[in-house]
Every structure is written in structure tokens, then in C-alpha cells.
């Protein structure tokens, strides 16, 4: 179990590192084609990449804390929502085959992908060169 977790963590770390180094490229896809398991609301661009002919998809969504896992939680407090990141291995028809455990590393990965796809570095460099 520990070994399996280590492999998964190392895999996500490598995804972050390769994305930051510009070795791994992600393409933006239409969020309409992505169906979330508990009808959560997707609040970001959905990114996809292919590694060894397997596709990975990542997006940000809002999870309702009072409806965790499809179960209604009765609470006197106000309903709270939480922004989460989901990384999935998907098939040819974009159905999820495996969902990675949501943790802080996935947020870091999503931010790295957003940053590399935004082209902000290029924009800044070009703008500074032009002056």
C-alpha cells in the first residue's frame, strides 16, 4: 500500500517537474465533454495530455462539503464549498478509468499547467524585448 502510494506520489511529482521544465505539454479541451461523478461544477479549463498512449485529464471543480460522496450531510452550519482538483486517467471516449487521490500536489500541478499554457513567460519576455 505504502509502495503504491509512493509510486503515485512520485508520478504526480514527475508530472509537475516535466510540466515546469516544458517537457510535458497539455492541451485545453472543452469542459462540456467532461462529466463529473457527482455533478460537481467545473470551474476551470480542462487540460489533457497523452503519456505512453494513455490520456490524462485534469480540472478544477467545486465540491459541496455538505454533499460529500453523494451523501447529504445534515448540518446547522451554512453550506460550504471547496475548490478541488481532479486528475483522471481516461479512455478513448473520455470516460474516467482511474481517479488520482486529491491532494496539494494536484493543485500545484494544475497551477503549473495553467501557467505554462497561459504563455505569460513569452508575453513578458516579448514585451520587455520590445521596450
Amino acid at each position: 500500500m505504502e509502495r503504491e502510494e509512493n509510486t503515485r506520489d512520485r508520478f504526480v511529482l514527475k508530472l509537475i517537474n516535466d510540466t515546469k521544465r516544458g517537457v510535458l505539454h497539455w492541451t485545453a479541451i472543452s469542459p462540456e465533454r467532461t462529466i463529473t461523478p457527482f455533478n460537481e461544477r467545473i470551474i476551470s479549463t480542462v487540460y489533457k495530455t497523452v503519456i505512453d498512449s494513455k490520456s490524462l485529464r485534469i480540472y478544477k471543480y467545486t465540491a459541496n462539503l455538505s454533499e460529500l460522496g453523494g451523501y447529504q450531510l445534515h448540518t446547522t452550519q451554512n453550506t460550504q464549498t471547496e475548490v478541488k482538483v481532479r486528475l483522471e486517467l481516461i479512455d478513448y471516449y473520455e470516460n474516467p478509468l482511474y481517479t488520482f487521490v486529491s491532494d496539494h500536489a494536484l493543485h500545484t500541478l494544475f497551477n503549473a499547467i495553467s501557467e505554462s499554457n497561459s504563455g505569460v513567460e513569452e508575453l513578458m519576455e516579448n514585451y520587455l524585448k520590445a521596450q
Binding site: 506520489d9 515546469k20 460550504q80 496539494h104
Partner: protein, 166 residues
């Protein structure tokens, strides 16, 4: 009846005194417990800030790691910021929540012996490397720390969420 009261009066006085002492001791013990709990709760309020600092360190190391060979020194410096944060975090956590703190501490226990410069020409350094006292900071060291740091951050995130419902 009067005779019975006279006979047992001393015993009842003694019993009353014993109950008073016992009540006093329980009150003192409870007060200490409450004080301890209040202290812990006060320290618990520091937890989100410490976790935020840990996230900043994590993100900095992921940025630096993209050019690992050039940033060994900076990565080591970033790691050295984590130890004091862990000391503070330990005050906010209960013993049952410490597992990931200990794991992270263990993965960074050799931090002082991780070398960041290629220059190991000195005979003492050479000897220390040979007998395994010193090691060049490598990607696998960083990876181990990052994995444990990520697990700790995620756990503290979950504790913070649980606290909202307490």
C-alpha cells in the same frame, strides 16, 4: 437517636472532609485540563498560517526543481525553512496527528550532511563522503522530502476542514 448521632458524628465529619478534599482535587484537575485544552485551541488557530507557509515552501521547491542542478543550494535553503515550521506545527497537533510530521522530519534528518556544491576536494570532505557521513544532495532526497511534505500539507488541510464542523 441522639446517642447514635453522637456515636457516628465523628465519622460523618471525617466523611464530609474527605468529600470536600476530593471535590477540590477534581476541580483543580479539571481546571488544569481546561487550561491545557484552551492552550491547544489557541495554538490550533496558528495552524492555517503554518500550513500556508509549508505550501509556499513546497511550491518554491517545485519551481527550483525544474532546474535542479543550478538550484541545489536554494533547495537546501528552502528545506531549512521547514524545520522551524514543523516545531510550531507540532504544538498545534494532537499526538494522533503527528505521523506525517515525524515522517517528514525523518526524511530531512540528514539535511546538514547534504552537500550542494561540487567542490569536495578537501581531504576531510572526501573522507566524510567515502564513509557516508556526507552526501551530494540529489533528486531522490528532494523527491522523498516533497512526498512527505505533500502528505503533511494534505493532512493539515483535512484537519482544518474537520475543525469547521466541530
Amino acid at each position: 437517636m441522639n446517642e447514635w448521632i453522637n456515636l457516628n458524628g465523628n465519622w460523618f465529619s471525617f466523611l464530609g472532609l474527605a468529600i470536600s478534599i476530593l471535590t477540590f482535587m477534581v476541580a483543580v484537575w479539571n481546571r488544569r485540563g481546561i487550561e491545557k485544552l484552551n492552550k491547544k485551541n489557541l495554538k490550533r488557530t496558528r495552524m492555517p498560517q503554518i500550513n500556508s507557509d509549508l505550501k509556499t515552501s513546497y511550491n518554491s521547491v517545485t519551481n527550483l526543481r525544474a532546474a535542479f542542478e543550478d538550484n541545489r543550494q536554494e533547495i537546501k535553503m528552502e528545506f531549512s525553512k521547514i524545520s522551524p515550521l514543523l516545531s510550531s506545527l507540532q504544538k498545534s497537533l494532537y499526538s494522533s496527528e503527528m505521523k506525517n510530521v515525524y515522517k517528514l522530519e525523518k526524511s530531512m534528518s540528514q539535511l546538514d550532511n547534504w552537500m550542494t556544491e561540487e567542490n569536495n576536494s578537501g581531504i576531510t570532505t572526501w573522507l566524510k563522503i567515502k564513509i557516508g557521513l556526507k552526501q551530494q544532495l540529489n533528486e531522490s532526497h528532494v523527491e522523498r522530502v516533497m512526498i512527505n511534505l505533500n502528505r503533511l500539507i494534505t493532512e493539515v488541510d483535512n484537519i482544518e476542514k474537520d475543525l469547521k464542523y466541530e
